[in-house]
Symmetry: D2
Subunit: 363 residues, 4 copies
């Protein structure tokens, strides 16, 4: 296998290059009997689509999803779902500028090192365009998780460069609030400042990074696994597999490591349903790798976009030193469009663990 | 599967409870022909062993490893290796204090929620004692990676609570320097301050957390995979599967998200072997999820130890609110003993990706 | 996972229903650098296509394959290949006759039992039409195995009902000889008799089964694995996953169990390359689950086609006893078209084991 | 992975060599809450043990199983079970006769070809002794399948060389009847004739093979999967992974391919619970790869034992032609001891598919 698949029971394989004819995902393991809302899949895809605002790239893509298999009379059949997205914007470009050199911050060199050659058109398989397929697959997971368990996953932009959101309540924030601003920060003041920060970077021909937070509410106690497949481990892997993601933390995360143990532990009380429930949530919803019933909370770090417009030093395939400068239009900040990606990472992971929990054969 | 296995080609399954008769690991996929140094496996285990200094728990365990299969005339045969470690210190204890309640910060409640009951003796399967098996398996990987590729993995304590190491050089730090101080920080001043910090916590009946850094040197360009199995994703999963680990970051990590793209990208130059090599290493040794030949660098966050000696509020299995207080002797800080665990996480991941790269069938 | 994937390293997932818009396969793990001959993929598909002769079903399908990803400038990139085949012949039919009852010999009832509902149009996912996707994926494996190792896989019809082929030489038979007769038996007399046997069945409104033999030449010694993934085990699984296949045997197979051990063992001599080579081949090319360098030989049993035109007793979804009779035109004998399926089963298995052998890291 | 593992959800890994200190199995994925009867595991192992009668090898092994993990207070915990069996009979032998040559019919040569060297003591990993670990793991599956679904798996010797059992009723035959004769054939006349046949082979310094039949009763409709993981495919793989097994067939098998379709299809009637049930069982309990509720029936072919006492022609590791003759005492017929192996193959497969069915999330 070459890394294009994820999940044990809700197994998703994505395929497709940035400038190929299409991209897509196959889901092997979707439970049967789900009334599949294809409009909702499309709505999730639309949140990731390029060209939504001046904050993002101007590539024109409808990103219209077709469901080619696995659904009959509106319901999933339990066999493989094939989701297809045609690439519309494949206009002929001149790639001579990037074909023979290694762009700093991009996968050009390691792909050549690994595979011996690479599809250099728009990044080929390493393009973030691939994530459309993940979002489509995760949209199926979102529907099943909501219908079966009432799980709700919401992500938002937490910080752009040094501009942070404040006052966002993990217990109540929803996707409508997040989408109220193109920058996808549900704090109005933060959203305004972030937008200004991104505009400034764009005008400077530069780019910025930041962090995204995500909460999963409604996950019952008992999802996850001991040892290698702890829920944080699988969630973290999913997040770190997103383009440009260089870090992930759960609950109190890195800051929490400065606390004393007596201050950090979450005391248990009794939840509304009579089950134990942590009274605080520094643990971020898990203990020993298994969910406690508290909201699962995480934060991801996204490095500043590698495609800026300053001159850069690099080498060619023949090992010659050259100075390189990007052309065209690109996202100065990936974070607004990364919000649905982080949700997708969480949804695919939770879906897989939900099915793994059913497979325990309890109850 | 219940989460006790990791890896696709170098597949490790661990088993065993804290107070069962033994624990161990089975490795399915160790390449044949490796001259296995069992003393070196034992040496790696000894670094994780309890009771090494006053900084760590006083449980007495020899942690003597037996290799029960997969080796003939000193060389691995290519069939499954079984590694066994007997539990020596299983003296009878009174568990009535923990059997019926849910310790804050521990896996007691989610294990009950997931499995319907749990082995409450010393944490059972959720005990960090399980990690001995990972360290043993990773010691095999260390030997093969060194012999075949010259890969070297070194981790050290980077910060305890708010006391940070300074001046550690990722390019040269080695395990001897790390082990020169019981706290496993290769910065003498930092080590002294960290030791004092841990002692203070112990005296206060409290615990501390912190961060560990790790570097993998000698990884050739081209290890990793596109999309879901990016090298950071798999390394991050391995780290986040360690007990108490709540965050991981690569290269510039969370701090790097505050930089501009033009400042963050690593320019390419030409390495000593004529291949491209990043001139700086903010990326942490990967691009697009695949190694570049630069050192792979990461940092892990470990929460403060959950077993402190202050009174804590919790509930019983029957849902009654109670006040709970730990007894006995426990590590006030897990970090010195977590150093070999982080190395193990990196080694197991790199080993698997090394074999996956061979399976590409190039060359 | 719901059973739509096969292979560890050359991992193939197929999708699609008989009367959906399309079907296809995704290959995760195709080695990079293969010059892919898409015309050869199409040629393999054409051997499986319906409507090739009066012996087979008259459904009209071009079965034109599109390669949507994973190839750049003619060579595989090492990322996922997506192969798409449109369903052309989806004309509207009246399924009221089969929607509400369970056809004997078909998957209707167990699909309902497993999934709660089913796509009843033409068998949905249980249709043999799915095998087009396997054949397409296997055509990629065929090219790599030939280019890298000189492996050659040839299958042919060995017996139809009680009419057997004679005189076929496993050492030399090739696909051209097999395809010389529509019935795909390279023995002229046998082919004529089989054709007559199939015609007689068709005229009687009935169907026949039989056996297919397959040989893989050029497989080096050392492919396979001990214990669970023996080469016969994986080959056998692949064959038994073909529609209507109810048995498989290797080398001397069931008949060989009547021999004495002293007569059955294959003595070793020295092969043309100086390596040991069995002088006879009752073992069918493997010992202990691993190839010996001798040709791998197997035989598959295909039950008579379930869709005949005699009245049959069955029950409806509501449990009512009814008499049912098939309509339309169907293959009276699946064997000629199953020849490429058996080859595909062998090719996919050998490809996976080739890569697994490379992953051992020897040499 | 090197082939030592099987199953997706009930994942079993075995390890150990014939003349190493021990062998064992780790089960990752055993459902929690099973009251584990270790005496019943031992009883299953005792059926496979050498030295049970004059029909089998005289190696002395107690095959006492230890459960080292995964059970607490008598119940499985849902974490990994480790099963250990010490090798008692490791007395020093002289292997110079087999160390440097390749025994016909044995795995010596392909192991060397694959791994570069081999443990030549008693066959090492290729020894049938490995199957003790499978039987132990399958004994756990047997208990869960019986407790949860009432599944019952029974195998028996069907034919030895040309001596067949007659009159065995698949609907009622049980293990007590099978074990009534050392040859494990529940037909008294057949048992007597088979015993004579084996004795004759032994006296002639030769060996015999034969077939084993197996039935699984109580499997509900709906287990299995479409396409690659059909229930026959997985059952067949498990059987073909047994040492000396060279063929497998389901239901009417190879003989059924001589029938007309109109005679072969099983008509549906209504079962005792009101669900559809095939009125005959030529299909062997599955349709489209999924169980129908009818008994699952299969037959396995076991080649004659490779270790006979006639002179054999072979080559040394250096390629020199030599004549070889086995020494010592060995089973003249593997079939009586293979009965529990075939049951184990079926049990492990059914257990995995049971959990996979639960993971569908229906009901």
């Amino acid at each position: 296998m070459s890394g294009n698949s994820t999940g044990h029971l809700f197994r998703v394989t994505t395929w497709g290059e940035s400038h190929g004819p299409a991209l897509g995902a196959v889901i092997d393991g979707c439970p049967p009997g789900l009334m599949l809302d294809t409009a909702a899949i499309q709505a999730d895809l639309d949140r990731r689509r390029p060209g939504q605002s001046r904050l993002t790239t101007q590539r024109k893509e409808a990103d219209a999803v077709e469901v080619l298999s696995g659904v009959f009379e509106g319901r999933t059949t339990g066999t493989a779902l094939s989701l297809l997205i045609r690439n519309a914007d494949q206009r002929s470009r001149d790639y001579s500028g990037v074909r023979d050199l290694y762009r700093p911050g991009h996968a050009d060199y390691p792909y050549d090192a690994r595979f011996g050659h690479r599809d250099y058109r728009g990044g080929g398989r390493s393009s973030a365009r691939e994530t459309a397929a993940r979002v489509a697959a995760a949209a199926v997971a979102r529907q099943w998780l909501a219908a079966r368990f009432g799980v709700e996953v919401v992500a938002w932009v937490d910080r752009v460069a040094d501009v942070s959101a404040t006052g966002v309540d993990e217990a109540t924030v929803d996707r409508a609030a997040v989408d109220a601003y193109p920058v996808r920060c549900p704090d109005p003041a933060g959203a305004a400042a972030m937008t200004a920060r991104i505009d400034a970077a764009r005008k400077a021909g530069d780019t910025v990074g930041g962090t995204i937070r995500c909460v999963a509410r409604g996950v019952p106690a008992g999802w996850g696994a001991p040892v290698f497949d702890r829920l944080e481990a699988d969630l973290g892997k999913a997040c770190l597999s997103l383009p440009a993601c260089k870090g992930v933390e759960f609950g109190s995360g890195f800051e929490g490591t400065r606390m004393m143990g007596s201050a950090h532990n979450d005391a248990f009380g009794v939840g509304p349903d009579g089950a134990p429930l942590p009274l605080t949530n520094r643990a971020g919803g898990t203990l020993g790798g298994i969910s406690t019933g508290a909201p699962i909370t995480l934060r991801c770090a996204f490095k500043p976009v590698s495609t800026h417009f300053q001159p850069q030093q690099t080498v060619t395939r023949e090992g010659e030193a050259v100075t390189f400068r990007n052309q065209g239009r690109h996202d100065p900040c990936v974070l607004p469009r990364a919000v649905p990606l982080v949700e997708a990472a969480a949804l695919l992971t939770l879906m897989d663990h939900a099915l793994r929990t059913l497979a325990l054969g309890r109850g």
